[in-house]
Amino acid sequence: MTRRLVRGVLFLLFALYFFVPLLAMLDFSTRNLVGGGRTWDAWKALGVDPQVRTAILASLGLAVCTVALMLVMLLPTMVWVRLRLPRLSRVIEFLCLLPLTIPALVIVVGLSGVYAWVNYFFGYSPLVLTFAYTVLVLPYSYRALDASLGAIDVRTLSEAARSLGAGWFTVITRVVVPNVWGGVLSAAFISVALVLGEYTIASLLNYNTLPVVIALLGKSSGTVSVAASLASIMFAALLLLLLSFVHRRRMPRGS
């Protein structure tokens, strides 16, 4: 009985610590600074204000592009290493986890030279940040993909497909990917969550993504940036919540 009471009280305290700031954000962003009372103007501004709207679209576009580049780069490489170069798997793992040791702040310090070339080839759209962001999401994506590739027999599957005449492209897109769908989804969702909040690289390379604009607006229009902050946290939480339901459905078959 006391045990349940202690758990309940602890849960309540944690809930307070996490929800008070979230509720405060909701309250703060709906304040009417001029006439008093409530207004949803700050939330409407998210869709109307051209600067904020462009930034939201840029961040969402970046999230999609990063997921695409991450999958195109990482998945074929990991499958290939498992099939043909198993001795190199340790090296690839080390390389993929390297961005945990080299902080984004350090990468961005050395990146300006590289980005002079990137801008030369691809222009100045914020979407060019895709290249830098894919490096940042590598460790998390690698772990998610590695776990689900480990749960299936890639070699047997691909040998079966190859002996039936499938090329490597078909093997990856129509045999491997459907079997590691859970891992692909969790790699994708975690990448989206990271990209939506990434500030370091975008701000120091002067691209107006959502977090950069939130920080900028904080100086002039606090309510809008608080509304945008709350929206981006809740959006990420919702994505991750959806992901947990996907996982459950995969569980019984996987393990």
Binding site: F14, A24, D27, R84, G197, G218, S229, A237
Partner: protein, 284 residues
């Protein structure tokens, strides 16, 4: 010759990935490494020596205090929350909700979390005003939210969630059979906890705390959004070096500080990897 070529062909499949990493990970790192030993295009130790400048040493000290205290606080509180959560079944709605919210705070956090606290206990924050109206207490005082104490509070807001995420798998790895075995041998609950659970989880716990330390040490977004004047911690010193228009030629000092940061984080991550290997023995 042909046999050797045949052996090399599979390696060609790695070329795009390795080229990509070379350009966007290794080249920037090398630029920092080389740049911190250069001044005016030549080899020089000026910037490395500048690291012992009092203001930079002070920033390093503040960074270590910030990362250390939030790693410990986040580690203990996060482990507690993870323990509360692991008691629920994996399909429980509360558990899913807590874990996803933790993911959102730890991954998307950054700037948003700074504004979360500005809205709560900033100058015109909701809680600040409530305290002012109802208790006549000035919560903001001297603006501590925008200095080190404030950073500690706000950093905990992403450190605790990160701890939940990295520590939960270790807690899930505790098998019921171990408790049953201990109870069968006559252990009390307390003995089971101190003599089985604690030794089993110690490497995972210490490893996670190290990861939290590295995470806070390298974090930039939250501090950058919260602190606009002065540079109390190392990441903000780098910003100062990169964006300063008053002091020209401080770019390479930023390189040297970045190098210092890599060295600290690398040491932490090696220790983390060693601890992880120890705890992996039990978590199969």
């Amino acid at each position: 010759m042909r046999a050797r070529l045949g052996r090399l062909t599979p390696a060609l499949g790695l070329v795009p990935f390795l080229l990509y990493l070379l350009v966007f990970l290794l080249v920037p790192t090398l630029v920092v490494l080389v740049g911190s030993f250069q001044e005016g295009g030549r080899f020089s130790l000026t910037n490395i020596r500048a690291l012992s400048d009092p203001s930079i040493l002070h920033a390093l000290q503040e960074s270590v205090v910030l990362s250390g205290s939030t790693a410990l606080l986040g580690g203990v509180l996060g482990a507690l929350l993870a323990w509360l959560v692991v008691g629920l079944s994996p399909t429980n709605v509360v558990r899913r909700f807590v874990v996803s919210l933790c993911g959102a705070f730890a991954q998307t956090g950054g700037v948003s979390l700074a504004f979360a606290w500005i809205a709560t206990i900033g100058l015109s924050g909701v809680v600040t005003q409530w305290f002012d109206d109802h208790l006549h207490v000035q919560l903001m005082g001297s603006g501590w939210l925008y200095a080190l104490p404030g950073l500690i509070l706000v950093y905990c807001y992403f450190q605790i969630p990160l701890m939940v995420i990295v520590f939960l798998p270790a807690l899930e790895g505790l098998r019921p059979q171990w408790r049953e075995a201990a109870v069968n041998l006559g252990a009390s609950k307390w003995q089971y906890f101190t003599q089985v659970v604690v030794p089993l989880l110690r490497p995972a716990f210490l490893g996670s705390v190290l990861l939290l330390f590295a995470n806070a040490f390298a974090a930039y977004a939250t501090a950058a959004a919260l602190v606009s004047q002065g540079s109390p911690i190392l990441p903000l010193k780098i910003r100062e070096g990169l964006t300063s228009e008053i002091v020209l030629g401080r770019q390479h000092l930023a390189y040297a500080i970045a190098l210092e940061m890599v060295v600290v984080v690398a040491i932490i991550m090696v220790l983390y990897a060693l601890l992880l290997r120890r705890s992996a023995r039990w978590m199969r």
